[in-house]
């Protein structure tokens, strides 16, 4: 590795932010997470196993402790910045993965101070801010960051983060051309695997890789059972909780996550047998789409579900898509495994950074039919041009099949809650009115 670089973005990192500011960021983050958790736990119908996932995602909870203990024993922690990073590879190298994308509001401010760009995506800024002031214990001690160059914000974020922690950037072919892109991406994955081996000092063996793939595939299997529950007429898990569960997979050890999720699923099935239902009876069935929403930024789903809707499905890279595709191995050669792994993380991905991205529209339409969706809530983070542009296209397509869509732009603060709530309530009213009209 090269000599340690001096910080280009923060000349004098120590002392740039006052102790007071750092403490405030931490305190507010903790408060925000607590509030979000209270909102989740105060739902009327909620499976008991979900407390485990609450604990995993908790600010400065047991998981942060576990990770720092792991690191104390010489283990490595790899931060990922995107759903396109093959976690199997990280786990196979003996390292643990954490998802860096931050949903905390307060760390946006330090990043704003540094970059002075008010229009930039708040999730990017929050991730950066968290690292700058070490606001989130889970992301404090990462040994390396893996950042695929997806959208502009994430790409430059990875570049800036290099001042704090080694970063591996991956080149994503943003126009998918079958074989050509596949070859490029396989090489990127091989590069990543070398970097991981460098950091952990451990060779990624074929056996370990296959083992990890099996674990994650098991996760996929469980997740599709979860989708079955959500698809049913009476889902026993709310959309927020489902998102919490699947996001926990990015922080937890996959084996334990599998165990807990399968517990959760049997509990949810029992609840279904007892005739329970999450959310209101006759709630509007909503599909959540658009920019990612990382816990604890569950503002929008919470509002939707408090206003008489149930999010039965989503197409977010912070939700359904985290676990939606398995790695299908047809052979046992190392090269074949790598290709299978690489393609799993690339081809089915419907990130708006790809163009053309017709798959996304097709997938949304397909889930509308399969999940009996009555309306789509499309969320865009402020400054997310890619989602914004695609929203229009998707809205036009949905109009053709008679599904209403509402587009909500949100920032990382609580200021817009009331305005969003008004719009969501009106939207759900409209769906219910439509349902009555059609029913007669």
């Amino acid at each position: 590795m090269k000599e340690k670089r001096t910080s280009r973005y923060l000349k004098d990192k120590d002392g740039y932010f006052s102790e007071e500011q750092i403490d405030r960021t931490k305190k507010r983050s903790r408060e925000m997470e607590e509030a979000s958790r209270t909102r989740l736990t105060s739902q009327k119908v909620r499976a008991k196993t979900l407390t485990y996932f609450d604990e995993i995602m908790k600010y400065d909870g047991a998981r942060s402790q576990e990770l720092s203990d792991f690191q104390g024993k010489g283990g490595k922690i790899i931060g990922t910045m995107c759903v396109m990073v093959p976690l199997e590879l990280i786990n196979a190298s003996g390292a643990k993965n954490v998802r860096l994308c931050s949903g905390y509001y307060e760390p946006v401010h330090p990043a704003n101070e540094l970059l002075g760009d008010a229009g930039l995506c708040p999730m990017v800024k929050s991730t950066l801010g968290s690292k700058m002031v070490n606001a989130n214990p889970i992301t404090n001690n990462i040994n390396m960051v893996v950042g695929p160059a997806t959208c502009d914000g994430k790409m430059k974020l990875a570049e800036i983060l290099e001042d704090w922690v080694p970063v591996v950037m991956m080149n994503i072919p943003r126009v998918k051309i079958g074989e050509t892109s596949s070859d490029i991406w396989v090489k990127e994955i091989e590069y990543l695997s070398r970097k991981l081996e460098e950091v952990t000092g451990k060779r990624i063996s074929k056996r370990a890789l296959v083992n990890e793939i099996k674990k994650w595939n098991r996760g996929h299997e469980l997740w599709s059972k979860m989708l079955d529950i959500r698809r049913s007429k009476r889902p026993t898990i709310s959309g927020q909780d489902a998102m919490l569960v699947v996001q926990a997979s990015q922080m937890d050890d996959i084996e334990r996550w599998n165990k807990k999720t399968s517990q959760l699923i049997s509990e949810l099935q029992d609840m279904q047998k007892k005739g329970m239902i999450a959310g209101e009876d006759g709630a509007a069935r909503i599909l959540l789409a658009g920019s990612p929403m990382m816990y604890p930024n569950f503002k929008i789903p919470a509002i939707v579900e408090e206003s008489g809707g149930t999010i039965v499905h989503d197409e977010l890279c912070s939700g359904f898509r985290l676990m939606s595709d398995p790695v299908m191995l047809d052979g046992i050669t190392r090269k074949g495994i790598m290709r299978g792994l690489a393609e799993r993380y690339f081809f089915p991905c419907t990130c708006p950074c790809f163009s053309p991205n017709d798959e996304r529209i097709r997938r949304i339409k397909e889930s509308i039919e399969a999940f009996g969706i009555e309306g789509v809530v499309f969320h865009t983070l402020r400054g997310c041009h890619l989602s914004n542009i695609e929203a229009t296209k998707i809205e036009l397509e949905l109009r053709d099949i008679g599904i209403p869509m509402v587009k909500l732009e949100s920032e990382y603060d609580e200021g817009d809650i009331e305005q969003v709530r008004t719009r969501v309530e009106a939207f759900i009213e409209m769906i219910k009115a439509r349902r009555e009209n059609e029913g007669i």
């Binding site: 079958g178 074989e179 074929k206 296959v210 595709d325 299908m328 052979g331 074949g336 799993r344 097709r362």
Partner: protein, 328 residues
């Protein structure tokens, strides 16, 4: 470990394997005392559209390509009536069973899959053809058909004075067909044929080329096989069809990756639901591996024979044996 478990939706491979073995037994069985189809002249004339090779000792059947070559050479006197009838029958057979002939019945396909399996077990990665090479090979198989006819007809016409070439040029494709070498040598090894070292050099050479290429490139011969070529021409009119429901496809490219023949239309095509064609041998591997419920299916006319399913961990035959049965 990998031999014990697999992760797929459908499991078609074992059934196909059984049928393939059955077909081989049917074809060579006679040498080992199975019912003697061969004694009745009518059975000697059974031909299958693909490589149930003529050179398998006492085989009751032969590949249609043998009959085509033979028919074009000897048919001049009878105005090629025989060969025309035969081609009509072949086309009928192809329309009825399509490329099931290839993936379920062709013994030579089984041989190639054996090579592929061997490579897998040795952990050697497969070779992947570039797009351009695939297009080239596709043309090669039609060129072979054309050349065969071009050679076979004139050497049978005595007026052209070429009949004396018959000893060298008769059955032009059989002479270079690796199946001939493969089956002759195998039979000699297993004692079904008397040992001789009179195998033509060209047959040995093509066998070597074939073995090496089939080892690194799955189904290497199928890519230029003239029998497959004729079937490919009728690939989309025959009754068995590979179909895709584009609405359910996530474009994950698993199907194109696992396909032994690199038939990428199954991945690319999002308009038509019939995604078989030129290269596809209907082996069903893509259906086994496609992770989307009901996305890919193998159909016979209007009936769906099997369709893709959400994958799960399954024991292989070996794994079941080891662990004492039961799916996980």
């Amino acid at each position: 470990m990998e031999l014990m478990e697999m992760f797929k939706g459908r499991n078609i491979r074992p059934w196909r394997f059984l049928v393939q073995i059955g077909a081989v037994l049917f074809i060579i069985g006679q040498s080992y005392g199975l019912p003697p189809f061969g004694t009745y002249p009518i059975f000697r004339r059974i031909f299958l559209p693909n490589a149930s090779c003529r050179y398998i000792n006492d085989a009751p059947t032969s590949c249609y390509y043998y009959q085509v070559q033979d028919g074009f050479t000897t048919g001049f006197a009878t105005n090629y009536v025989d060969v025309a009838i035969m081609l009509a029958v072949v086309v009928l057979l192809i329309i009825l069973l399509g490329r099931f002939w290839c993936s379920w019945l062709c013994p030579f396909g089984l041989v190639q899959e054996g090579f592929e399996k061997l490579r897998e077990l040795l952990g050697i990665p497969r070779y992947r053809l570039k797009w351009k090479q695939r297009i080239l090979l596709r043309r090669v198989k039609y060129t072979i058909i054309f050349l065969t006819v071009l050679i076979s007809i004139p050497i049978g016409i005595s007026a052209l004075g070429l009949t004396s070439c018959q000893s060298t040029f008769a059955l032009p494709f059989c002479q270079v067909c690796p199946a001939k070498g493969f089956f002759l040598i195998t039979q000699q090894i297993f004692g079904a044929e008397p040992w001789s070292n009179k195998l033509p050099l060209i047959a040995i050479a093509s066998l070597v080329v074939f073995s090496v290429s089939a080892f690194f490139l799955p189904m290497a011969f199928c890519r230029i096989c003239p029998m497959g070529g004729l079937m490919a021409l009728f690939g989309r009119t025959s009754l068995p069809l590979l179909k895709k429901d584009p609405d359910k496809c996530t474009k994950c490219r698993i199907c194109a990756r696992v396909c032994p023949l690199d038939h990428d239309r199954v991945y690319e095509d999002m308009e038509k639901d019939d995604v078989g064609g030129e290269d596809c041998t209907l082996c069903g591997k893509c259906v086994e591996y496609c992770p989307e419920e009901g996305c890919l299916s193998i159909n016979y006319g209007p009936f769906t024979l099997t369709s893709s399913k959400r994958p799960r961990t399954r024991n292989t035959f070996l794994g079941r044996f080891r662990k004492g049965g039961g799916d996980t």
